[in-house]
């Protein structure tokens, strides 16, 4: 039998890797957590409305201004950069607000989280209920092959899919197809893996509302004889999504699969204040995965609290992406290639989990010998 580490793996949740992960004890397992004293953690977990209200007003203000500029520039070449800015301001913050409000941590007030979650879910075209459950699974089984529905690229990577995702042309049509299925009361096989039966009616009704909004946008375009309405709503999820892809690629790619330690499979990246505003501090991704209870505005403090126990962060988004693309290029030829990041002397050892004796450990040995 070909060892798991060298065989081309099946990333579907409906494939044989799902049962294999459960057999290995990788599903719903206990993960390594950096030590943080409870009083400190309680401080960090404390919820506030202020930062998220400020940031939401800033976001919608910036979006309205960019939208107005794009509208004024329509019919000129200036429309291209204007809509590019509008698209990024539409899709990128929608992605991060979807994420933070989905966790329910961005605002202290639950209805505010839910309201922004619903709006952002539509904007990023991730229907609220199925994606809530998809993301819960991503947190339970982060980068566990056959279990995690949010693995951005398999090994070896498929460059065509990554290129398509620059404009959401892979995930977008997949989600649109799922929405149409939901309209008829059906879920696809992958979704049935993580959405409980009790949530199916809500899933279906949400998709019907989304499809009605799509229809209204199409009618507005036809009635007005212009594509402008679609350029302001729905299409920005596609043409504005390249930053969503880049930040998303920085989170886990090139790092370990099938381990039980977020320090091994998740990357923290330093970013400038503008990117951090757009991304709502999700660049502190190891911290977020280890402590999902800590709201985005407290993640820099959490980072300081646990950095002695974590590998060095990537110094910038460019540096993280350089590392990712180099790793993906190597994984084309050697799917077991994994980036090895040394821990500081103050850190506790990595927890490879059940994979210690199999693929992850083999990859570690190979890469450590290559690094010498």
């Amino acid at each position: 039998m070909v060892p798991t580490a060298t065989r081309k793996r099946d990333y579907r949740l409906t494939g044989p890797e799902n049962a294999l992960a459960r057999q290995k004890g990788l599903a719903a397992a206990e993960w390594y957590v950096c030590p943080v004293p409870r009083p400190k953690l309680k401080q960090l977990m404390k919820r506030k409305d202020g930062p998220a209200i400020r940031d939401t007003l800033l976001w919608f203000g910036a979006l309205a201004a960019a939208g107005y500029a794009a509208y004024l520039s329509w019919g000129t070449w200036w429309a291209i950069p204007a809509f590019a800015v509008y698209g990024v301001l539409y899709a990128s913050p929608a992605d991060s607000r979807w994420h933070e409000c989905g966790h329910g941590t961005a605002f202290k007030t639950p209805w505010m989280n839910e309201a922004v979650y619903q709006i952002a879910s539509f904007m990023i075209l991730r229907p609220a209920t199925p994606w809530r459950w998809s993301h819960a699974r991503h947190h339970t089984d982060t980068i566990i092959v056959g279990r995690d529905p949010e693995i951005v690229a398999p090994r070896p990577p498929v460059w065509r899919v990554i290129l398509m995702e620059s404009f959401k042309l892979y995930g977008g049509p997949r989600d649109l197809k799922r929405m149409l299925l939901h309209c008829f009361g059906k879920l696809d096989a992958e979704e049935r893996e993580y959405i409980p039966a009790s949530e199916i009616p809500k899933t279906c009704w949400e998709s019907r509302v989304y499809v009605l909004i799509f229809a209204a946008v199409v009618i507005a375009c036809l009635y007005g004889g212009t594509v402008l309405p679609a350029l302001f709503i729905v299409l920005p999820s596609f043409y504005g999504s390249f930053l969503v892809l880049l930040t998303g690629m920085s989170q886990h790619l090139g790092l370990y699969e099938d381990v039980l330690d977020h320090r091994l499979n998740t990357r923290t990246t330093y970013m400038n204040p503008i990117l951090r505003f757009l991304y709502w501090n999700m660049n502190y991704h190891t911290e977020h995965h280890m402590f999902p209870m800590v709201p985005y505005h407290a993640l820099p403090k959490l980072h300081e609290e646990i950095r002695h126990d974590c590998p060095a962060p990537s110094p910038s988004l460019a540096a993280a992406l350089r590392e990712v693309f180099q790793a993906l290029a190597r994984q084309r030829k050697d799917p077991t290639y994994t980036i090895v990041r040394p821990l500081p002397e103050t850190a506790r050892p990595y927890r490879y989990g059940p994979a210690e004796e199999t693929g992850a450990a083999q990859a570690r040995q190979t890469n450590e010998s290559l690094a010498k």
Binding site: A28, K42, M45, R47, H103, G104, T105, P110, T129, R132, W133, A136, H139, T140, P196, S198, E199, F291, P292, M293
Partner: protein
């Protein structure tokens, strides 16, 4: 029930106001809560969604938020209040007897 019994779980002062601690008894685990108005409560220790200790979570008013997926329960009634939790949490009677917290389990 005939086999119900009161078990001394902890001293009242061991739980801070608006906080939760873990209490293990035999092969079972529980979460013990102290509300902001100084009332004590007990529930099963694991979240009903996935097997994670609620005692590592955050008490917000009368709710406990699971540390792994941010699902919420009303810890007084056990009612599921926020996805991804859908199944209610089992609650247990609690009494504070001269500074000792007792939990009634079967």
């Amino acid at each position: 029930m005939a086999n119900e019994q009161w078990i001394a779980a902890c001293e009242a002062e061991e739980i801070e106001e608006e906080d939760v601690i873990r209490f293990d008894h035999g092969d079972r685990t529980f979460a013990l809560y102290r509300s902001a108005d100084d009332q004590y409560y007990a529930t099963d220790g694991y979240c009903t969604h996935e097997r994670f200790h609620l005692a590592d979570g955050l008490v917000i008013g009368r709710q406990i938020e699971c540390p792994k997926h941010n699902g919420r329960f009303d810890y007084a009634t056990g009612e599921a209040k926020r996805a991804p939790v859908c199944v209610a949490l089992r609650t247990y009677p609690v009494k504070n007897d001269a500074g000792t917290i007792w939990i009634k389990i079967d």
